[in-house]
């Protein structure tokens, strides 16, 4: 990278705000999607909104592309630098700026870790509802970019339902506020379209986040079934009964075994599937709902329905669930988590298709997912030293997503398109749909300097995930 550019960046952010050394930069070569890697030419870590603005203004003037990065837990290659030499990390934007308990919102810088927000208001009985399983690491900025969800979004909604306003440094270095700290801000909902834009509309530096009251009480069930079929019938039954559970998560045999081996929670390793069902709200409403849920489980031949005895047991159960991905590490040196969505009632169909894909490509696939909203997360296991197996993983992943689309679903429920799924966008969007998205991007990011080569496939369809532009380390 040009020495003058480096010097200028040093001037703006100071020596502790620049990561220039090759070995230090190499940790930024990918996010949680490890099939493609690329090392940025320089990483800058601004300390304030003003520094972000100054960096971006400078890069815009020099026509140098850049990519925002939070904690790098993304699962679709969103912060992979693709023809973008500069990475702008938010790790120094890590302050909670303001807490307003009575009006129930928090203003946090974008590098603040998701869980810190809930922790900051826990004592006062409040929480920040979106709870991605990566919440101990992922940042508010990353959550906003991906419109992240989590196990409890079935009842509480995803990130966009909890963001009042954003402070954004636009790709030309201007600082704007979208939305605000009150509801119904006049004008177009630019906050709404920026959330989920995967960092292509600018760099979010700060956000006003709504707080939600912690429920008065919880009840958490572990229902054990002989087969996935019975578990999915139960999911449909619960939804049809008029109950809106806080969470409805399913795990299949393979994942149950991995988790049990890792955390010894006491999961039955011979079960075909388990459901984690959680209801919350007023204590008075939980008994009648419990009865209904138990009856539905029994009707669908549940082998056993356990109820978490106390908060400690509930936390242990959730901890196991949220670390399910980690547990897979015991079974396989590498894995690729897919993220697709089907209409809730099509969950049995998609699981059947996944089984077929697993047989066809000779891959082990474990399933742990948000069954309540039809959001599947098949985990495809492989060894990256085996080139053929790596290729089969990419192919199998694609086939699963195609099946989701065939069933009326979508390519991604919460992990985003990133670089991973660009090639498949035409499966669900027409050229006209993609054109309007390109135009929307141009409204915010006219020169495409901010996170280029993401989300929208370039016309001509030259982007194909089977032949990554960046070399997969095999």
């Amino acid at each position: 990278m040009d020495q003058q550019v480096l010097d200028r960046l040093y001037d703006i952010v100071g020596p502790d705000g620049v990561v220039a050394h090759k070995s230090a930069r190499s940790v930024y070569d990918c996010d949680g999607y490890t099939l493609e890697k690329a090392v940025p030419e320089i990483v800058v870590l601004p300390h304030s909104t003003e520094e972000v603005a100054a960096v971006v203004k400078f890069l815009n003037r020099e026509r140098i592309a850049f990519v925002p990065r939070g904690a790098g837990t993304g699962l679709s290659g969103g912060c992979l630098p693709v023809e973008a030499p500069v990475m702008i990390g938010t790790s120094r934007l890590n302050k909670i700026v303001h807490i307003d308990l009575l009006n129930r919102y928090v203003v946090a810088q974008s590098g603040v870790v998701n869980l810190w927000v809930s922790n900051a208001v826990k004592e006062q009985g409040l929480q920040y509802a979106p709870d991605p399983s990566s919440q101990q690491a992922c940042t508010i900025g990353g959550n906003i970019a991906e419109n992240s969800g989590g196990p409890h979004t079935l009842k509480y909604g995803v990130t966009t339902n909890h963001v009042l306003g954003l402070e954004v440094v636009l790709p030309d270095g201007e600082i704007v506020t979208l939305g605000g700290t009150v509801e119904d801000v006049p004008g177009y909902d630019l906050r709404g379209i920026t959330i989920g834009a995967e960092g292509t509309f600018g760099i979010v530096t700060q956000a006003a986040l709504k707080l939600t009251r912690q429920p008065q009480a919880y009840r958490t069930f572990l229902a054990v079934f002989e087969s996935v079929h019975h578990a999915t019938q139960t999911v449909s039954g619960i939804i049809a009964s008029g109950i809106v559970p806080a969470a409805l998560e399913m795990m299949d045999t393979l994942i149950i075994q991995a988790i049990e081996e890792a955390f010894h929670f006491g999961f039955p390793t011979d079960a075909g599937a388990v459901l984690i069902i959680e209801i919350d709200g007023l204590a008075a409403s939980l008994d009648p709902q419990t009865e209904r849920i138990q009856a539905i489980c029994k009707h669908n031949k549940a082998r056993e329905v356990r109820i978490a005895r106390d908060d400690a047991e509930r936390m242990a159960l959730w901890k196991s669930r949220k670390r399910a991905f980690g547990a897979i590490g015991r079974l396989s040196p590498n894995y690729c988590t897919q993220d697709g969505v089907v209409p809730r009632t099509k969950v049995p169909d998609i699981l059947q298709r996944i089984t077929e894909v697993s047989e066809k490509y000779q891959l082990r696939i474990a399933n742990v997912f948000h069954a309540g909203d039809g959001n599947i997360h098949p985990i495809l296991m492989y060894d990256e030293r085996n080139a053929d197996e790596t290729r089969r993983v990419v192919q199998a992943g694609k086939e699963i997503l195609n099946a989701c689309v065939d069933l009326g679903g979508s390519l991604t429920g919460e992990h985003g398109i990133g670089v991973e799924k660009m090639g498949q966008m035409p499966l669900i969007f027409s050229p006209e749909d993609l054109m309007v998205m390109t135009q929307l991007r141009s409204v915010f990011n006219p020169d495409n300097l901010c996170n280029p080569n993401k989300i929208i496939p370039t016309p001509g369809g030259c982007i194909d995930v089977t032949t990554p532009r960046r070399q997969v380390p095999l």
């Binding site: 009150v182 989920g196 939804i239 809730r344 009632t345 991604t412 309007v436 135009q439 915010f444 929208i456």
Partner: protein, 425 residues
Amino acid sequence: MTQAAGHPPSPQFIIDGQAPETVVYPASIEEVSRLLKEANEHGRAISPVGHGAFLHLGGVPKRYEQALCMTGLSAIVDYQPTDMTITVGAGMSLAQLQAILGENGQWLPLDPPCLERATVGGVIAANLNGPTRFSQGTVRDFLIGIKVVRADGTLIKGGGQVVKNVAGYDLPKLYCGSFGTLGVIVEATFMIRPRPEAQTTLALTFSSAEKAGEAALKLTGSDMQPFFLELANFSPLSSSRDQQGDAYCLFVGFAGMQEEIDDQRNHLRDVVGDDIGSIEELSVDEAQTLSQALRDFPVSGPATLRCKVSLQPTQLATFCSDLAAEARRRYAPARLLARAGNGILYAAFEGDTVPDDQILSLVDWIRVHATGSNGFGVVEEISSALKERANVWGSVGKAFPLMQRLKDTLDPKGILNPGRFVGGI
């Protein structure tokens, strides 16, 4: 499908005294597409209209040549009760949608004014909602997919049919509250919810706005989960309960399972404390009357001026008492109704002899006091002659250039509702 030439258009299509030259009634998406393509080629200004009785919202049209009446697009495209999703044509009335969902014990959790008449497209375009937004949210929280015809006639879609989806930019959000200025909404997919099994409403009275506001904050700060929470300086119920002087009411709704309703009703007094005039549970009929009145308040009764103010919930009470005093000084008595948990205040001012400059100074007062604490004030009804001076939407600050670029991108010739939105968009 075009109204016979020579007929004056019916009053429902008149906006700020302007009548369109033609009214067209497309019956399919293809027709909407063709009509827009044609209009765009000729630079003809179009206003998409739902049931159209409430087109006062927004600035005076710069031009208005054709009304595009959407009520012909009212089919159920797809309804999967077990998936809790429904896709309908944008011209379907919300009442019809709710009736269809009601057959399966479900609903779209929105209770906007004029429920009977508002269309799905109008509800999205005007971001309509009602008291239950406190517990349920607004239309952006339920709209998961949308089809829109762009100004040039191109059909585009965003989102999809599934409840969780982050593929591509979130287009549905962009069209919520876009007031027909970015395209004509032709189809919408919503996620829906089970209808609450039971419901009850309590009316509380207080001797001042501050006391009522205090109680509202105690409620939102407690474990209670009100269905709605409305603060008013009047009571829409029978005259015997009419409010005197500075008295304020708090209307608290509870909904869900009978057990949780009973539990909350029984604890309500413990939570709000003793500084309370009266507390009374309404009969089913009274509750019905009240909820309709609360819902329709933003559009009902005579008013020389109506404003909607966005504030922090903690600022509501003081704002209300100060505003009521300001209004009295101008002989324009104010009826105030606030979505207390959301910080949204609707103010209607009566007095048809109030001079124009007094009305405008009231608008100024509202804006100055709202923006002083990062709030906003929008004028929802005022005589057409005053609209420009009142700057109905107010200022939207540094984000405006982006909004203008967005409009220019999606409607480069400015044919869709020109002049009606923020900054004259």
